[in-house]
Amino acid sequence: MHITADRDLCAAAGQCASVAGDLFDQDDDGVVVLLTAEPSEAEEPAARRAARLCPAQAIRIIE
């Protein structure tokens, strides 16, 4: 799996960092910071959940 996070689309809601804090963080403005683009197999469900809950659809998962 490969994750991308579009900082231009990001609405800084923080959903991703709330449900997958090992994969996503936020900068001081709340904008998404991708911690790793290549999650472990165990982290994949959290990555999918973060992408689905992103209110700006800024997170893409490439399986």
Binding site: A13, D29, P55, A56
Partner: protein, 397 residues
């Protein structure tokens, strides 16, 4: 309750709620036919940018679209753009769309809300509401040649339009019928800093100002207030809330009361579900909650219903969450703010224009608001999720 492989799903409404439900059904492994009925001609799009980046011109309108055409095609939906549902027959499991009857095994109602109009005030060129992508494009074009905007409505949308218009350099007057500015489920709890934020950014806020009529022939030139004073305007935006789009469900037998009343998992009748702005879910204890007209509420309810249909399993209760950006200030609101319970600041300082505050029932945290402190707000969200008891240690001041 779970769908069988040959079952068909009809989704009425092609906004974020309808599309999310369709997409989640596919992701959950459902391969049967899904019809997606949308009364607009555009593919599904996000509404939050319409009053922000699209209105300021930072984005072209098509950036608000939710999926690129390849992704959208890949879902294998029977998409019917520009189609309107007329009636629902629960006993026979059919929806009338145009001249045809569509049979469903499961129906998802996601028709959203329509912009409320001012009572007794006729339409006039230069007067806008903002709900659809076409509305946003038309308003953006009109603002491009305007000098002065009057916004009618003291809720979130009115505030966002005022903020966007200031960014474009217009003079802005924000009119509110009641005495305080409001922010979604927060009510008027942040009316004071919100009004201050608008004034510091050049918005003229006039409260307790009821609109009695419009001035102008051929094109709007201003609004008349109840005290007979006139506020001049080149453009007027009416942002006085939304009306659930349930007209087509009259006589269907569904319980309609400011939206489609559902149980705690979104079921309104056998094999009929409702999600998003149009849906009014009950709490697990059975009381009808207020509708939450928020993008994330639409997403989470749709994911929950798709999961229920595909797997037969309920999801945890959806907690209302919305955000706004006004004059560069990021405001985030999570949870419920019942009764008159006040806000208690747990981080930052309102005087410095950055803070996080929570509200409690008893001493249990039920809601959190962040004002330019997104990371600390995230910590406060956890307090809401845990219904944490607010103690001195939790106050991060």
């Amino acid at each position: 309750m779970a769908l069988a492989s040959g079952d068909s799903v009809v989704i009425v409404g092609a906004g974020v709620a309808g599309l999310t439900a369709a997409r989640a059904l596919r992701e959950e492994g459902f391969t049967g036919p899904i019809s997606l009925i949308g009364d607009e001609v555009h593919p599904p799009y996000l509404r939050p940018p319409l009053s922000k980046q699209v209105l300021t011109g930072e984005w072209t309108a098509d950036r608000a679209h939710l999926l690129d055409p390849v992704e959208f095609d890949g879902l294998g939906l029977e998409w019917r753009p520009g189609a309107r549902a007329h009636s629902l027959d629960i006993a026979n499991h059919t929806v009338a769309v145009g001249g045809t009857l569509l049979r469903y095994d499961s129906l998802i109602i996601a028709t959203g809300v329509a912009a409320r109009q001012l009572d007794g005030v006729p339409a006039l060129p230069g007067v806008h509401t903002l709900r659809t992508i076409d509305d946003a494009v038309a308003l953006r074009a009109d603002l491009g040649t305007a000098r002065r905007l009057v916004v009618v409505g003291n809720g979130v949308l009115g505030s966002e339009v005022a903020s966007a218009a200031r960014k474009l350099g217009l003079e802005v007057v924000l009119l509110g019928r009641t005495a305080a500015l409001r922010l979604g489920q927060l009510g008027d709890r942040l009316a004071v800093p919100l009004e201050q934020l608008h004034r510091e950014n050049g918005v003229e806020v006039r409260l307790k100002a009821s609109v009695a009529g419009l001035v102008g022939t051929g094109r709007v030139e201003g609004v008349t207030l109840a005290d007979r004073s006139v506020v001049g305007a080149d453009v007027v935006v009416v942002a006085v809330g939304g009306v659930p789009s349930t007209g087509w469900l009259a006589g269907s037998g569904l319980e309609l009361s400011d939206g489609v009343l559902c149980n705690a998992v979104g079921c309104a009748a056998p094999d009929v579900y409702a999600v998003g702005d149009v849906a009014r879910w009950r709490s697990e204890a059975g009381s009808a909650l207020p509708r939450a007209e928020h993008n994330l509420n639409a997403i989470e309810q749709s994911l929950a219903v798709a999961h229920l249909l595909a797997r037969g399993e309920p999801s945890p209760a959806v907690v209302p969450f919305f955000w706004s950006e006004l004059h560069g200030t990021r405001i985030q609101v999570y949870g419920r703010f019942g009764g008159e319970s006040p806000l208690e600041v747990v981080a930052g300082d309102p005087a410095e224009r950055r803070f996080v505050a929570v509200t409690c029932e008893g001493r249990r945290v039920t809601g959190a608001v962040g004002w330019n402190m997104p990371r600390d707000f995230r910590d406060a969200r956890v307090l809401v999720d845990q219904s944490a008891e607010l103690t001195r240690e939790k106050v991060l001041l």
